[in-house]
């Protein structure tokens, strides 16, 4: 039964992984961290990335669930997926930051943050793997 630490250890096995964390985007709380953080402070990084995740999750442009979904409000209140967004990728001159939303059965606003070296990392591979790990984190 994988937990937060096992999940983060798996994430770090990706080629080029420099650091990773599990973050709550409503509060900006780092629930678990591993490796390096871009500004040397995992808690500050969590608060900053949480703001990006929140802005993305809440934008109407990205919240569009399906074509012609007039029933969107009721559906959203019932709380199926907390956001239609799967991930956010930010590219910097020497790295990639990937924020992957984690869907849980209970109410939450959690995402996985992976910081990847641009020269060693493989963006496509990392994206697929992070998606798998985000699912496995909350599955038995």
């Amino acid at each position: 039964m994988p937990g937060i630490d096992e999940c983060l250890l798996e994430v770090m096995r990706l080629p080029g992984a420099r650091g990773a964390s599990v973050v709550d985007w409503t509060s900006g709380l780092a629930l678990g961290t591993i490796g390096e953080s871009p500004n040397g402070d995992h808690e500050a990084t969590a608060a900053e990335t949480a703001e990006v995740a929140r802005m993305t999750a809440e934008q109407p442009a990205f919240a569009h669930l399906a074509a012609g979904s007039a029933a969107a409000p009721a559906e959203a209140a019932a709380g199926a997926p907390s956001t239609a967004v799967e991930d956010v990728i930010v590219t910097t001159h020497d790295g990639y930051h990937m924020l992957r939303f984690v869907e849980t059965a209970f109410d939450s606003s959690v995402f996985l943050h992976l910081w990847l070296s641009r020269s060693e990392g493989n963006l496509a591979l990392a994206r697929l793997r992070l998606g798998e790990l985000a699912e496995r984190l909350v599955l038995a």
């Binding site: 994988p2 937990g3 999940c7 509060s27 907390s82 109410d107 599955l139």
Partner: protein, 270 residues
């Protein structure tokens, strides 16, 4: 980085203010037991926080059962089977009721959430009962320093979103001033729909099975957008209701009255 500008009035204090000197001391002596404060209880094991509860926020049972992660029977089965042995958390995972990662995420969220309310400034003395542990059992212990840091950061976060804490505790109501012209994100909309002039933030949290701190964040955002307002029970004299930074970190040097009393008693007994 967020704590740097917190205390312009206190020169030379680059250390974080201590939320509870008693908690600090208990962490230093690696105590095990329950710290009961006015608005909640922190459970310590070996000086680390292992669980927290507050009447202001839904317990982990509500969080897990509302979304359907766990059925009520599953919860009561776990309490019956493992409650006496104080390993309910372990049992929930081992018996396949709740995935391990989900339990950790949910429990950590609930812990920091309850700790935020439990560590709210109060004039009531705290008590510590040595040796007491919680039946949820070990899940993922957190250092006291991390809990204090996070609690302070959360107070600042709320204050930064909207500096008026009125919506935190009073019943909240939708304001009619702004009809639905600005789009409200789905999660905030669910909160807005329950702001009926009767429910408080805690009631809404309970109804949605959501962390009460998350509700506070949403309510402050909605208040900032002019979409909700607190219902004020009786209009107080104008001077008494000055909004602003009323209950913020400046108040955090709560004198630990229980400790002071014990000291005084000990000195008098000499």
């Amino acid at each position: 980085m967020s704590a740097i500008a917190a205390d312009p009035g206190a020169p030379g204090t680059d250390r974080l203010p201590v939320l509870s000197p008693m908690l600090q001391r208990l962490a230093a002596e690696r105590a095990t037991g329950a710290l009961m404060r006015d608005r909640g209880t922190l459970y310590l094991a070996d000086g680390q926080v292992v669980h927290a509860e507050s009447p202001a926020t839904p317990g982990i049972d509500v969080l897990l059962t509302t979304g359907g992660t766990l059925r009520h029977e599953g919860w009561w089965d776990a309490v019956a089977q493992a409650g006496a042995g104080q390993r309910v958390g372990r049992y929930l995972v081992d018996s396949g009721h709740v995935p391990g990662g989900a339990l950790e995420l949910c429990h950590l969220g609930a812990l920091y959430d309850a700790a935020f309310f439990a560590l709210a400034p109060t004039g009531t003395p705290a008590r510590f009962r040595y040796g007491v542990s919680h039946w949820i059992g070990p899940v993922r212990p957190v250092p006291v320093a991390a809990v204090q840091r996070e609690t302070l950061r959360r107070r600042e976060l709320l204050d930064r979103i909207w500096p008026d804490p009125a919506c935190d505790s009073a019943p909240v109501v939708r304001s009619s001033a702004h009809p639905g012209d600005s789009p409200v994100p789905a999660r905030q909309r669910a909160v807005l729909e329950l702001a009926d002039g009767v429910r408080t933030a805690s009631d809404i949290a309970q109804a949605l099975g959501r962390s009460a701190f998350h509700i506070l964040v949403d309510l402050r955002r909605l208040a900032a957008a002019g979409l909700v307002a607190a219902v004020r029970a009786q209009p107080l004299p104008a001077a008494a209701s000055a909004p602003g930074r009323i209950t913020l970190p400046e108040v955090t040097a709560d004198p630990d009255i229980a400790l002071l009393r014990r000291l005084r008693d000990a000195l008098e007994a000499l």
